[in-house]
Symmetry: C2
DNA sequence: AAAAAAATAACATATTTATGCGATGAAGGC
DNA sequence: GCCTTCATCGCATAAATATGTTATTTTTTT
């Protein structure tokens, strides 16, 4: 038997969700709340396996509630965020705050039960459009920027040494070129990156994933 | 009508998948292949909306095939990876290489059709256990390192200025302290981070997410 | 073949960093 | 009250960096 609590400000939806879930084989609703102002207490007094947490609620927002819950040490309860929109900011926040899944409200009731089941068993159900957001964020994080500031191969090489913390002298020795050549390259790099110090170049290299 | 191509080395599974999909309303199979050695050509000669791509195939692995396809400029075709296991290395690779979804082979046939439909419409269907992997990676990436090298509040502040590319003089001005005080802080920072130059400190700050 | 871009190098110089040593006052723990 | 940590500041100096100018040789492009 999977125990579920529902946080949803719309009374109508809250009740119909409750009836749906409670009326289904294998699920019991142990609490329904119109806001998550006392979420930490609620979860202690009515422990549930899975929470359905609306993102947009008056008072404490769903994500804030989630953060409180996790901050209180509760990492066991699975939390499924419910929302009308799949804007990336919220998705991102929810994930970072420790949500176990992210569903659009338009999810069909039968699916909803399935998703609760999934979450209970360690899965992270998410609407496929939300998953798209997540993957997009991933590829943004991990894709090299297309704009590599037109650094030449040699310049990129030098920049990599800078990132590794090498001094001009060390770079020269490693690349078998004169230190003045290293200077020349670095001067060019600074021009292209619009910086004027080693540490700025390093910072930019990290930020823009040039290296 | 959604056109689908199937890459799967197991002849039995390949055929039954083909029959299932081709026999379903709204789906047509335009190609079935036992390997993805010629995936780029295949996709030109038998354009499909969605590819089902087995991860483990003799010859070119599914992910390698995916990379080739994307490298050839094809970013339009939706690609669903199929696999028996949900190990994080592959998931990660697939996402980075531009997969649109990641499904376990044990996915029920009815779901599979749904997932193909989802992918075609821009979604990123993934088995919920795979989604768990993805979220886990996310939180790993974004969690601050616990070890902040015991920097004091003031030292962290100075380090942030370094990351922003400020010179000692600028930091002193901004923090309303003497330049020698800035030096003192930085000396301490270097000791704690085990580095001995500004750019190394900046690099470490980025790598270890101190800032 | 001519032109453009990239890699190499030298020289000079002002500025910035790195490092060492020492010192003072304020805050907090015991 | 004593001790420790933190934040503050000064002075000195060697090393490294930033910047400008110029020039030669390869490599690439047109």
């Amino acid at each position: 038997m999977i125990t579920v609590s529902i946080y949803e400000d719309n009374a109508q939806l809250r009740e119909s969700l409750g009836i749906l879930i409670d009326g289904s084989e294998g699920f019991t609703v142990v609490g329904t709340f119109p806001n998550c102002n006392n979420i930490v207490d609620d979860c202690m007094q009515h422990p549930a396996d899975v929470l359905l947490l609306d993102i947009d609620m008056p008072g404490l927002k769903g994500i804030e509630g989630l953060k409180l819950l996790r901050a209180s040490g509760n990492t066991e309860t699975k939390v499924l965020m419910l929302t009308v929109f799949d804007d990336d900011k919220s998705v991102f926040d929810a994930i970072q705050s420790g949500a176990n899944g992210y569903l659009l409200k338009k999810t069909a009731p039968s699916k909803l039960l399935e998703h609760i089941y999934d979450a209970y068993h360690g899965g992270s159900p998410m609407t496929s459009s939300v998953a798209t957001q997540v993957l997009k964020m991933f590829s943004e994080i991990y894709s090299r920027k297309k704009d590599n500031y037109n650094l030449t191969a040699r310049e990129r090489e030098v920049l990599e040494y800078l990132v590794k913390g090498y001094s001009y002298k060390m770079i020269a020795a490693d690349m078998f070129i004169a230190i003045d050549t290293v200077r020349s390259h670095i001067k060019k790099i600074y021009e292209k990156l619009h910086v004027n110090s080693k540490s700025e170049a390093v910072a930019k290299a990290f930020k823009d994933r040039i290296v």
